[in-house]
Amino acid sequence: MKQRNAILTIIAVLLIIVFVMYAQKNLDMYIVRILNVCAIYAILGLSLNLINGFTGLFSLGHAGFMAVGAYATALLTMSQTTKAQIFYMAPLIKPLDTLLMPFPIALLIGGILAAFVAYLIGAPTLRLKGDYLAIASLGFGEIIRVIFTNTQSITNGALGLKGIPAVTNLWWSFGMTAFTLIILVSLINSSYGRALKAIREDEIAAESMGVNLFKHKMISFMTGAFFAGIGGGLLGNLLGTIDPKMFNFIFTFNILLIVVLGGMGSLTGSIIAAFIVTIGNEVLRFLDESMDLGFVVFNGKVGLRAVVFSALLMVVVIFYRHGLMGTNEFSWNAVLNKKFWLKPFTRKKPLAKGGSR
């Protein structure tokens, strides 16, 4: 059984590699771009899931960490001439204007900076119980936006950055998703991961078992922020332009939707949901545009897509609280089991409080 699963995993990984190789060369730009966004959203979903789903901290500042990563990576990879061109309101400050780094190092620095910012936010708020983290992290996400809009000589203010080299391709995005997944799986299956789950289930019980609450919460929060920074960096170098407005609360909300839809506490669930949400977002684009169905003209309205999405989130939370995967992970045994396909609704449900067995 174990051998079979290992072979299946290797085959799946090879298939994905072949697919990426094919897609990068042959599929059209639009589809490649959507696939890239899917993978980046998967990274973001995974990182938020570590904080929200596995540790039970309700963080709403993810867009802020992404902004830090995106700006750091972009500024470190843009060429000197491009920087001189776009910073016409106020010149870029000294070391940054000539600094140029290879993409991987810039990405890493972006992630580390995001983690450092997470430390600054977490130090006062993670010691507190209750919802304070939610509101403080939400506030932080807004502050980052305000700061980035006002620091003209570092971030170019509201004008944003343009002409960021488009380095991100499918290899980068899928590769980083795999990297994130591997790191998070190892973290969650380590003794640290068990401590995180214990904190999620019951803080007081965990503390009395000798788990250092603050330290473990901080590990989870900073790791999540690190990968959010990397995701942001990939996104910036995919889109080519970033501005502070992009990283608003709606962005965090989309990622939260991914985490909830996939199942809080299921890594594979987050990846599946990232693809569903991103592709769904593209498919539902017709809602924002007018459309002639032949017999009836459908008048789309700008914003209708967002209405559908918010309603979807509420429906998922209210009627299907555990998401697609609950706290289960993808496993070959389950997929190859015939009963799995025959009776999708009799599957063993996770515990009512969102705990795992």
Binding site: A136, I143, L304, V307
Partner: protein
């Protein structure tokens, strides 16, 4: 800075603080009773300003008919949100309820964009309130004086309701313990809905006056005031109504004074509240009026 300019800023600060206080009361009441950040509260406030717009502009009602109707409809909307988004999740883990709250908030915002359009609209403020009065060299809109008076009035009525009536007693009982309150014959669900109704009605009062002071309404106008008012509630000590009012005033006056004395920092106006929040959480985690409660196992 001359004295009259300072007084003008102070008047603006007090009226902004009063508006924050009115909205913060809604947050603090809901938090007190459900231990939930009602993310949709800022959007209920936004909907109130649109109701007032439709009452005044579309149906051409005079303000003394339209404003009471706005308050009633907003209260109904608040109850609707509670019944549809929060009641099904009463026993769910907290994180699910918070997500549902965010979902409700986004639904209201996006519905407003689709139904009312994204372009800001002028608020139909009656001249009676917007007239400018001249005191020496200081020119101030009348509504700036009315706002604190209305806020204090609402606060007194609310405190009477909560401390002296049976309904208020039921609310206090539910906020202590749902189960015990139910055993004592309190209809818990009805009490919670009523709390949402009252909170939303106060948000409507706040919305109407906000519209008169800053006469431009837009679908996303509720987000930032909503967040700030929650912060005001936390600063004052969440769950405590007087605390929410104090927090509102601290935040409103502080914000206006920051701009008045340090005009360079105007761009950071929205960040001020959050920085204040983090500082307060560091030194007094339960807020100004909050009490420290030990968690029983």
């Amino acid at each position: 800075m001359t004295l009259d300019v300072f007084l003008q800023h102070l008047a603006n600060g007090i009226s902004l603080g009063s508006l924050y206080a009115l909205i913060a009361i809604g947050y603090t009441m809901v938090y007190g009773i459900l231990r939930l950040i009602n993310f949709a509260h800022g959007d209920i406030f936004m909907m109130a300003t649109y109701f007032a717009f439709f009452g005044g502009v579309t149906f051409g009602m005079p303000w003394y008919i339209s404003f009471p109707l706005v308050i009633v409809f907003t209260a109904i909307l608040g109850v609707l949100v509670e019944v549809s988004a929060y009641r099904p999740l009463r026993d769910a883990p907290k994180i699910s309820i918070l997500i549902s709250a965010i979902g409700a908030s986004f639904l209201l915002e996006n519905l407003a964009i689709v139904l009312f359009g994204g372009i800001p609209k002028p608020f139909p403020a009656p001249d009676l309130f917007t007239n400018v009065i001249q005191i020496g060299t200081v020119a101030i809109q009348r509504v700036t004086f009315y706002i604190p008076v209305v806020t204090i009035g609402c606060l007194l009525i609310l405190l009477y309701l909560i401390n002296k009536t049976k309904t208020g007693m039921a609310m206090r009982a539910v906020s202590k313990d749902h189960e015990t309150a139910r055993l004592m014959g309190v209809n818990v669900n009805r009490t919670i809905s009523l709390t949402f109704g009252i909170g939303s009605a106060l948000a409507a009062v706040g919305g109407i006056m906000w519209g008169m002071k800053y006469p431009q309404i837009a679908p996303l106008m509720g987000i930032i005031p909503g967040l700030k008012c929650f912060i005001a509630a936390v600063i004052g000590g969440i769950g405590d109504i007087k605390g929410a009012v104090i927090g509102g005033f601290v935040l409103g006056i502080g914000e206006i004074m920051l701009i008045a004395f340090l005009p360079d920092l105007t761009g950071y106006r929205d960040a001020f509240a959050f920085i204040l929040l983090i500082v307060i959480l560091l030194y007094k985690p339960t807020g100004i009026m909050g009490e420290i409660t030990a968690e029983k196992v």
